[in-house]
Structure formats: C-alpha cells, structure tokens
Amino acid sequence: MLKGSVSKSRKTVVTLALLFSLAGASSAVIQRFPKPDFESGYTRPELETPGPRSMALESLDVVVLLLALSLASYFALKLRSRVHIFVLMLFSLLYFGFWRKGCVCSIGAIQNVSYTLFNSDYAIPWTALAFFALPLIFTLFFGRTFCAAVCPLGAVQDVVILRPRKVPRPLAHALSLVPYLYLGLSVLYAAAGAGFLICRYDPFVGFFRFGANFNMMLFGASLLLLGTVIARPYCRFLCPYAVLLNWMSRLSRRHVSITPDECVNCRLCEESCPFDAIRHPFTEKQGGGKARAMRRLGWIVLLTPVVVTAGAWIGYKLGEPLSKGHFTVSLAEAIVLEEAGLRSETSDETDAFRTTGVPIETLLSDARRIQDRFRIGGGVLGAFFAVIFSVKLINLNIRRRYDEYSADTGTCLSCGRCFAYCPVGAEGVDLEQLKRLST
C-alpha cells in the first residue's frame, strides 16, 4: 500500500496513536510505522556522537593545580615576592577560570565529596576529589597560598581591588559567620541529593563560561563592584571552602610572615592589608574592667551547652522546610495538594509523574524518608552553627596579647602585599638601628 495516497487508514492509525498517547503511556518507543525497505541503494547516515572533554585534559588540570599550589607556596614563603604571586594569580584566572570555565572548582568539590559519602550511586571522579583535597593539604603545610594565587574566584575579585576600606569590626565579625552557614547548608543539600547550592549561587562562574541566568550575572557584577572598595568580599564573607582553609591554615606548619626575620614594631605594615588580616600588638579593650569581662566570659561558657541544644532543636525543626528544596519532596507535596483538590491546575512535574505509573504511596514514602534525613541533617547543622557561634563569642571575650605584627593565620590570604611595607631585610637597612628607632 502506497503511503502517500492513503488517507482513511492513515486517519485510523493517527486516531489510534492519539488514543495510545492519551492513555498515559510513558514516552517509551512504539514502532508504529514499519522500517522502510530501500530499493534504490540508499544508505542511512551515521548518528554522530561527539565526545566530551578528554580524560587526559581533566588529568592535566590536576597536574596544573599541583604545580600552581607548589609555585604559590614557594613565591609566598620562600621568594616573598608579590609580583610573582600576582602573575601566577593572573595565570590561574585564565587557566582555572576562563579556560576550564571555573568548573569543577575546589569550592564546589566539597559538594561532590558530601554527595558521594552519603549516596552509594554516585562515584566521584578522582579529579574532583583531587581539587577538594590538594588545596587543603597544601594549606596544612604552607597556609592559604591557594587563595592568593590559585583560586580563580579569588583572582577575579583581587584584580578589581581599587581603594580597599576596612569593614567595621562588629560587622566583620557578624559577617564572618555567614560562610559557616553556607558551608553547612551546601553540605546538607548535597548529601541529601537536593542539588549543589554552591554551584547554583556561584557569582563568578557566569563570567568564566560566558553564560548564566540574569540574576546570577547581576549578583556577580554587584560583588565585583563591591570588590573595588571592600577587598575580596566573597572570599572573606561567603566562601564555604574558606571555612576549611581557615582551620587548616591556623594549624599550618609554616605560614606567611610579614617580616622576613623578626618584627621590630615599626608599625609600617599596619595599614597595608586590604583584608584586615594583620594582628596588632595592642590588646583589645574590654568594656567594664577585668572582673566584669571574666563574668561575661563565664556566662558565655556556661550557656554554650544550652545554645548548642537550642541550635540543634531549631535545625531539626527547620529540616522540614529545608527539605522542600528536594525535587521528590516538592513533587510529593504538589501531588498531595492536587489529590486533595486544593490545586486547580496540574504542573509539568505532576503530569510527568502521573505518566510514569509509579504509585503515589511510593512517592510519599520516598519523600518521607528524605524529610527524615533533612531533619537529622538540620539538627546536626543547627548544632554545628551553634558551636561556631559560641566559639566566636568566647574568642571575642578572651583578651589576647601579641608582641609583634603578624599575619592572622586563619584569615591571611598570603597575597604578599605587606612584604613591601616591611623594612626588615631591605637593602641598606640595619636591623639594630631599626630596633632602636622603633622603641
């Protein structure tokens, strides 16, 4: 039967096909029309399957990371040259940022690790694992040299620094808590399979890959604009990886120091750090005198278990609203509302679910299981954040005495801007004379 001339039987076929599709069958393949028998010697074209970026290039990225971390540490600790650090930073911006499109970055790799630890069906690529672990290990040895010259997000913020101003101390302390929250939420979401928040809200990746939705571009542009007067805002007040780097750096075996030899307290480096990461040898004034301060500290320490318990409870309660960020949970919610007649229209998601033929009870039990995970995870997150908050309060109420100017081991990004300000070790400068002049 010639296909071109048929109308009635074609109409029947079409009607049947329409009925088939309306019957709710999933889009599984139905061979409705038979395979043609070509008599003219026609051969079917090949379907092209272009492959993704080769594994060799991905492995090369890890080698480059290793080299960059080594060079950054050498430039910051041994060579002590800001120019070398800056040039390496530009290379990292170009390679890890624009060439590699900023993905998978060390910051995002936290999520891949969280995801693989809690989900047996995800095999983390070793390259992502390397990006997670290598900067941490280097930081344990040399301090935050990764931040100075390797991280592309740091690099893009560093190049726009124009007239950096100090953030008022109370604000800086409050904002410094945000990365802990961001880290906790990202780990929770990644582990629960609800998505990668760090990637979703990465402000700078849109520039690196020349594509992002409008809101993210706006966020990135705003941060860069802010970065002209507040140096490296993402690094200091948002970056979740910075939490881990901060911890590693505080415990690092070696660390960048402002002076190549000993500090003579000449105070020349005092205003040299755009990130306010220099410890001054002046004690912070405590209001009210020593006894009052001791009592305040005592109360904070005593109340810490209460705060942590409260944090855990709040986190546990927040588990349910947080779980709505998971696709299965929001789908289950939508289905329940529709079944109860509380929604007038179905959504794409509920339509697609209904064609799968999966019973609603299965979906609901999956969603309940995920919500349980979120409650437990939320409790852990709440307790974690409460501990961080308490530690912060305790630290703010402990008086520390420093004898010299040094880099804050937790927050110093090893950029080397302060090196040029230190007269010690400069040519023609006598250390003993400096000491006499500085007292």
Binding site: P34, S40, R44, L117, L129
Partner: protein, 189 residues
C-alpha cells in the same frame, strides 16, 4: 601556655587535621570512579516540556534533537516534521513544526523521505520529539551534545526537568541512544 607546649599542641592538631583530610579523601576515594561523569538525558523518561531549550546556562542550549535513522519510518506524512493540520506535505515553512526550520526533508525514493537535523539551527525545544513520539516511531529525541555541553557540576536543565530525565553517565559512554544505534553504541564499549 608556654610557647613550646603551644607548638606541640599545634603540631599535634596539624597532624590530626591531616589525618582527617586523608580519612575523608580515602573514604571518598573508595567510592570513586576512574571516569569523569557527564550529563545526559534519558529519552524514555523525557516529557518533551520544552525546558531544555531555555534552561541551559549557555545562550544556545547544549541539548539538540538527534535522529535515530534505524528507527525512522521515512514517512511522507511525518508527525515530527509537519504540523498537525499542515496544508501540504512539503518543505513550506508554514507546514513545519520546527520553529527554526532545523529539520531538512529530502526525497529518497517512493514513498520515502529522509529527515536530517541541522544542529546549527536546532534549539532543543523538543516540539518535533513530541510529534514523533506521539504519532510516529519515536526516532527523534533530545540528547545533550558533548561538543557543546560544559558539564557543569550542577546542570541547570537537570534541575528544572519535570520528569527528572537527566542523570550522570560515564564520560566514555556519554549518550543514551535508541534503536540500533543504541545497541551498537552499547556493544562498542
């Protein structure tokens, strides 16, 4: 605390931190795969919602329609090419489902017509996929094209897909194909 005691404590904590990083890394390594993972959509789960065209972070979506020639019926009245109620079965733009005219129709022999996709024009909207899977053989379907895809750590399309058709597949076999092409693809691994 004397400075030597502090240094000792710091050194101890440094080692502990190193061990912690090593432990986490080792645990993750035990679940690690040698291959990189890339995104692909499962055509049997796809709901043809048209979001693939608009949700990719790239200005031109990395998702394109592909054609399984082994499954195609080569019909004159192609439900993936022609609009329902098309005035005539020819290459007139007013008859085509495709909003960008990315499907090219060529006469092979009576009564067969060959349909090929011009990827430069295809936007990955899936209108042809909907028509083909509803009334045809299902030989037209969407796939992530890996010469275009950036392989973001979180795929913006995957996140918005109403049927959750996206999953991570090994980079060595980055496609989920239908028909004979699919069978040959799986065999060649």
């Amino acid at each position: 605390m004397s400075s030597s005691r502090r240094d000792f404590l710091k050194s101890g904590l440094n080692t502990a931190a190193g061990l912690a990083v090593g432990a986490v890394t080792g645990l993750a390594l035990s679940r690690s795969g040698a291959s990189d993972l890339v995104w692909q959509l499962d055509p049997d789960v796809c709901a043809q919602c048209e979001k693939c065209a608009t949700n990719c972070v790239l200005p031109e979506s990395a998702v394109k329609c592909v054609h399984s020639y082994s499954m195609c019926g080569y019909c004159d009245l192609c439900s993936g090419y022609l609009e329902p109620g098309a005035k005539s079965r020819d290459t007139g733009a007013e008859n085509q489902l495709c909003p960008t005219g990315a499907i090219k129709r060529a006469y092979v022999e009576d009564p067969y017509f060959e349909y090929t996709i011009d990827e430069k024009l295809c936007i990955g909207c899936g209108k042809c996929v909907k028509g083909c899977s509803a009334f045809g053989n299902g030989s037209l379907y969407l796939q992530v094209r890996h010469d275009r895809c950036l392989n973001c750590n979180e795929c913006a399309i995957a996140r918005s897909c109403p049927s959750q058709a996206y999953r991570r597949v090994p980079a060595a076999t980055p496609y989920i194909l239908r028909g004979e092409e699919g069978q040959r693809y799986v065999e060649q691994i």
